[in-house]
């Protein structure tokens, strides 16, 4: 759906995005990166607000800059908190519906549906000027989904949402992804993005650092062996058996009675552990990999 071909963007002497090539298809993709990594620049180029300095972007086969054909298939929830403050939430969403080309009655009907989905149906008749940050976020989401676009870009959509709102939002997004939509989410809340998707697009200082499945990427990071923690009432016995495995690079018994391991080739390690447990009747209370998550991958890749 989205093709980036050697895309670069300069702002005077500052480079916002540096020679990025990628294909983003249906499903949820998390756009990750530190502040200044180029996430917003990339989103602005995909949403046709700015052009690449070099390279080419295609959305559904067309260049997006000022292209209404692309905008018909694209929903955008910007990071900014600015609105037409004198409007009510309902008026704003309906206005966006009319600007998307719907007639008055259809815009009204769609707005009502979207406001219900984002949990604003009961509060949308107050002026936006009096809305909290969470309410503003929900209204932005409603206007982005209003015209049932194929591609939805959400720039920091979880900001300002309370835990219940986040949960509801993630359900909505997951539902959209199941219907074959292409959804790009830029966020700093890695743990919650991880619940939504394992498909990441990691930018660092304008460059594309990694793209693809999180587990696949994690397995490719040889420099940082997987850390695995086994909680057991018989740590010495478990430790001695673990040392028989080729995967184990180091082992540490901690005071709480847990065994901390550093292993390579995690894919073969887990079946081997399962075999050992069955063969030797080991008592294992818990097995966890504290660095097999998005945050660790992010830290390892950007060197943070």
């Amino acid at each position: 759906m989205i093709e980036l071909d050697h895309v670069s963007r300069w702002f005077g002497l500052v480079i916002g995005l540096n020679d990025v090539s990628a294909h983003i298809g249906p499903g949820i993709t998390a756009l990750l990166g530190q502040n200044g990594a180029g996430k917003t620049t990339m989103i602005r180029m995909i949403t046709g607000q700015i052009r690449p300095t070099t390279g080419r972007i295609e959305i559904l086969g067309e260049e997006p800059f000022a292209n209404p054909n692309v905008f018909r298939q694209l929903g955008y929830c910007p990071e900014i908190d600015q609105f037409y403050e004198w409007m009510t939430g309902r008026e704003f969403v309906e206005h966006m519906g009319r600007l998307s080309g719907f007639g008055a009655s259809e815009a009204k009907e769609r707005s009502q549906r979207m406001l219900q989905i984002v949990g604003m149906a009961d509060r949308c008749d107050k002026k936006i000027a009096g809305y909290s940050k969470g309410m503003r976020q929900r209204i932005k989401l409603a206007q982005a989904m209003l015209h049932d676009p194929k591609i939805i870009l959400l720039d920091e959509p979880l900001n300002g949402l309370d835990p219940v709102g986040r949960h509801e939002f993630m359900q909505v997004v997951a539902g959209l992804a199941d219907r074959g939509k292409c959804i790009i989410i830029s966020s700093h809340i890695l743990s919650e993005v991880e619940q939504l998707t394992h498909n990441i697009f990691l930018l660092h200082r304008g460059r594309l650092l990694a793209t693809g499945n999180l587990t696949t990427i994690r397995n490719l990071i040889d420099k940082h062996p997987h850390r695995i923690r086994i909680e057991t009432p018989e740590p010495q016995r478990v430790a001695s058996l673990m040392l028989t495995l080729d995967n184990v690079l180091s082992l540490d018994l901690d005071r709480d009675g847990a065994v901390d391991l550093e292993v390579k080739n995690a894919d073969t390690f887990y079946p081997a552990v399962a075999n050992l447990v069955l063969e030797h009747d080991l008592k294992i209370h818990g097995l966890a990999s504290p660095d097999n998550n998005l945050e660790s991958v992010f830290q390892y890749l950007v060197g943070a």
Binding site: D81, Q82, E85, A129, G130, Y131, R136
Partner: protein
């Protein structure tokens, strides 16, 4: 006593703080430097001095012509002498009038500079909740108000003074012997008028800006207020000129009108002429410079069309009262309340 927060020492910080007198200056300096870094600011400062540039060019050209004509005197007799007398208009110059003209013709650009520097000074803080940041520091409401005032006042007064200073220095170097030095002290009077004029712009703008959340809207309101009051002054001036038009339409020449002193006007017209923002500014400058103005660009004066200087004392206190009112509005609006949106 144990606490879940290990280090509470920040709550009772008793280390050194900057002296209170410096805090307003931090805000003022930040604003001033921001204005000085803006290229548009310097563009308008340059534009505000256009009258001085024109009058110096006129003087230069007239001097060149005059010098050539002087060489002709010996060969052409009385006619050339008359020509020299006519074009040596520099001798007729009332130099301090040029200060007034420079200041008067710069009024529009001073307004634009004031809008550029001051329209968003508080409105933008309202929008971004920056007041919360300011007032959560060891910075009082007074520091904020004084800092903002000088942060806007300094760039405006600088914009007013710089072109005049160039003119003053040029005049002192080139026309000292032709009467310029006699009026050198008038430059100080001009600077005083500029200081008060900048204070008037600053106070009204800050007052309006503090009521708004968008600098653009604050600028529009001040611009509209300035222009509508300016229209009032223009209307009074048109009324001032009416008797001249009537007498002239009866067949009298302008010189005859002046000579016969036939112009009889309502005494309220003169103070009413200064009933606008630029009217007050120009009125104070006239009073401090002790001139009535009249035609610029070296043209002969036209007393019948010139509105005499107002009472300087009255104008000063009126301006001070307006400043106090708008600063009071500003003071009342400085509240550390989060503004959504």
């Amino acid at each position: 006593m144990s606490s879940p927060i290990a280090d509470l020492s920040y709550r009772t910080y008793d280390g050194p703080l900057n002296p209170p007198s410096a805090r307003w200056w931090v805000i003022a300096k930040m604003h001033t430097l921001k204005a000085f870094r803006n290229r548009f600011y310097w563009l308008f400062v340059g534009l505000s001095g256009w009258y001085y540039l024109v009058i110096l060019t006129v003087i230069f050209i007239m001097q060149m012509v005059s010098s050539n004509a002087t060489e002709m005197v010996g060969t052409s007799g009385e006619a050339a002498n008359e020509l020299v007398r006519q074009i040596q208009f520099i001798d007729r110059f009332l130099w301090k009038n040029q200060y007034l003209h420079g200041f008067s013709y710069g009024q529009l650009t001073y307004l634009i500079i004031a809008l550029l520097v001051g329209a968003g000074a508080v409105a933008n803080d309202n929008r971004s909740n920056a007041l919360l940041v300011y007032l959560s520091k060891p910075c009082t409401k007074l520091d904020y108000v004084v800092g903002k005032f000088f942060g806007v006042w300094i760039p405006i007064v600088t914009a007013m003074v710089v072109p005049s200073l160039f003119f003053f220095l040029y005049g002192m170097m080139s026309y000292r012997g032709q009467g310029f030095a006699l009026y050198a002290p008038a430059f100080l009077s001009l600077v005083l008028a500029m200081a008060m004029s900048a204070a008037l712009h600053t106070s009204i703008l800050l007052g309006i800006s503090s009521l708004m959340k968008q600098g653009r809207i604050a600028g529009i309101i001040y611009g509209a207020l300035y222009m509508i009051t300016n229209i009032f002054t223009v209307m009074i001036w048109a009324f001032w000129l009416q008797p001249l038009g009537q007498v002239r339409s009866n067949g009298a020449t302008t010189n005859a009108i002046l000579g016969a002193e036939v112009v009889d006007r309502n005494p309220l017209l003169q103070p009413a002429f200064y009933g606008s923002i630029d009217g007050l500014n120009i009125g104070l400058a006239k009073a401090l410079l002790n001139v009535d103005g009249g035609n610029g660009f070296g043209m002969p004066p036209d007393p019948a069309a010139t509105v005499p200087a107002p009472n300087g004392f009255m104008v000063f206190w009126l301006m001070a009262a307006i400043c106090a009112f708008w600063l009071f509005v500003f003071w009342r609006r400085v509240r550390a309340v989060e503004v959504v949106g």
